[in-house]
């Protein structure tokens, strides 16, 4: 699949920008602050319904405007699909009609995503390795949602069940917290819901990780880390890969073991909301005991593994969004990355004040395009037409 063109209205620094792309490699070059990353962000937004950069939606709307609209036409499976998403508040952008496919309103983000698939490589990917577990859980859940029908629904059901149970725990009167006091019957009901949905979510995550892991091992070996591994860690079960009933049993036991503590804290203390993906190199923890270079390779391997899973699952390639990653990588890793990328539409940003690309980079891009039989188009954001 490929993006024919994107239109950005009042989005970040773009008042009104229309960009045409080629199905091959699109180099987007320009100085910092000229709106390069915003173009990738717009593409990503049409793929998953939210941005890959931190911050709330209102920050995406240009200063002085009340709403932003991002739209684009995607060619996939011999058809063109027009996608549009509204942000902020204004005529035609309510909470219920933010998402449109071929002009028709889609009520929820779940009905909107999937028409465009994208894998993003960004300097922030290092946080996947170095950052807190929440980022890795989100990564896994997003990959799972893209390739497993039902995962997105499961995740939202899990979040609801968890909020309900936490709300109930927090509402229990102080006197009744602690051992020996009366437990309301509805707490048992919500505990069972947490057990059921939590076990299903964990199962779906672990199945997804098994697929990711195959690609991860292969790719990390090519990146010079043959002994790198990734596994799922849940404090409440040593066997998350077992069948759902077994995992549910462990979660039930885990919750029972902290029941008193939960009543003191008013919070669900055990479950998939606290799990993690553990990355390691020959048993060394990738988060705390790897060099910066190794961590960059691990992050790259995770993204390339995500890409592999998508390649296996779908007939057509996702769009590759490479946000200024080349500046972060040494020449060896730049070469490795290009060798591992498949023939897919690629949007690649390069920060430069010069009118010409650096010769080394230019050659790397040309070699990649030639090897994969892709056209190259170079677009300069300092010259993009603005109305």
């Amino acid at each position: 699949m490929w993006i024919r063109h994107l239109t950005l209205d009042s989005f970040r620094c773009h008042d009104h920008t229309v960009v045409d792309f080629v199905p091959g490699v699109n180099v987007i070059a320009g100085p910092n602050g000229s709106g390069k990353t915003s173009l990738l962000e717009a593409a990503y937004l049409l793929a998953v319904g939210h941005t890959f950069r931190p911050g709330d939606d209102q920050q995406l709307v240009a200063d002085g405007a009340s709403q932003a609209i991002v739209s684009g036409v995607v060619a996939a499976g011999g058809r063109d699909v027009e996608l549009a998403i509204g942000l902020g508040h204004g005529p035609g952008v309510g909470r219920k009609d933010r998402f449109r496919v071929n002009g028709a309103v889609r009520r929820s983000v779940r009905d909107f995503v999937g028409h465009l698939r994208a894998v993003v490589f960004s300097p922030d990917d290092l946080d996947l390795v170095k950052g807190p577990p929440a980022g890795r859980r989100e990564f896994l859940d997003r990959v799972a949602a893209a390739v497993r029908p039902g995962h997105a629904r499961l995740l939202s059901e899990w979040e609801r069940v968890l909020r309900q149970r936490n709300s109930l725990l927090a509402s229990l009167p102080r006197g009744s917290r602690g051992a020996g006091s009366e437990v309301p019957e509805t707490l048992q009901t919500w505990t069972e819901m947490v057990v059921e949905k939590g076990a299903e979510l964990t199962h779906s995550r672990v199945r997804t990780l098994e697929r990711l892991e195959r690609g991860f091992r292969e790719v990390s070996a090519r990146l010079g880390l043959p002994s790198a591994g990734v596994r799922y860690r849940a404090d409440w079960t040593a066997r998350p890969a077992e069948d759902v009933m077994t995992v549910a049993g462990d979660l039930r036991d885990g919750l029972a073991a902290v029941a008193v503590k939960e009543r003191e804290r008013g919070l669900t203390l055990v479950g998939p909301h606290r799990d993690d993906l553990v990355l390691d190199i020959s048993g060394r923890d990738g988060r705390s005991r790897a060099s910066q270079g190794e961590q960059r390779s691990l992050a790259l391997a995770l993204r390339l593994a995500e890409l592999r899973v998508q390649e296996e699952t779908f007939d057509d390639m996702p769009v590759l969004l490479l946000d200024d990653v080349l500046s972060e990588l040494d020449e060896g890793r730049q070469r490795d990355l290009f060798e591992l990328l498949p023939a897919a539409q690629t949007l690649l940003t390069v920060a430069t004040e010069d009118p010409e690309l650096a010769p080394g980079l230019e050659k790397a891009v040309r070699d990649f395009a030639t090897r994969r039989e892709l056209d190259v188009s170079v677009l300069r954001t300092d010259r993009v037409e603005r109305a």
Binding site: Q164, L168, S171, E185, T186, T189, W190, K197
Partner: protein, 205 residues
Amino acid sequence: MYEGPVQDLIDEFGRLPGIGPKSAQRLVFHLLGVERVDIERFAHALLALEKVGFCTRCHNVAAGELCRICANPKRDPSAICVVEEARDVVALERTHEFNGLYHVLGGALSPLDGITPERLRVRELMERVTAVEPNGTYEVQEVILCTNPTVDGEATAAYLLRELQTLDRSDLAVSRIASGLPVGGDLEYADEVTLGRALAGRHSL
């Protein structure tokens, strides 16, 4: 601001769900142009709502003490279908798959919204299920849990099942409406055929 009665009516329309100030204004100006007889019919229909209350048996909307369904002698009083809202009764009636009576809970369990079993008509349901006929037998033989296929609806069904099991009525059949409904949606949005199939394919618990 308009003349007293006009503004009053605009304000009243504006209080209704889904009607903004502009729509309210449009409706009122439309009414200003219609025949007096039409206004009277409209006013009459509104005033008639005053007499509508809730069925003392199943808590469905009712014009008298009992709703149309509870008052119908052809309905089978041994089966009770438990739903969240009166709207769900309408949706299930459209399927023509169920000939028993209903029980409207008035919502679903939700700690986030402060909805506890005490805020729902759970006690009333247990009373109906344990009510004994003059000849000493139980009238209710079957309970079908038809709460929405949402997290809150599932939790409510699970809670009710536990409560029903503590009633010391091993002869009572309890079932849950079959899956296959659009998950996460409400019963009222399901089409008749799907809903009818889900009701017919209910599984015992």
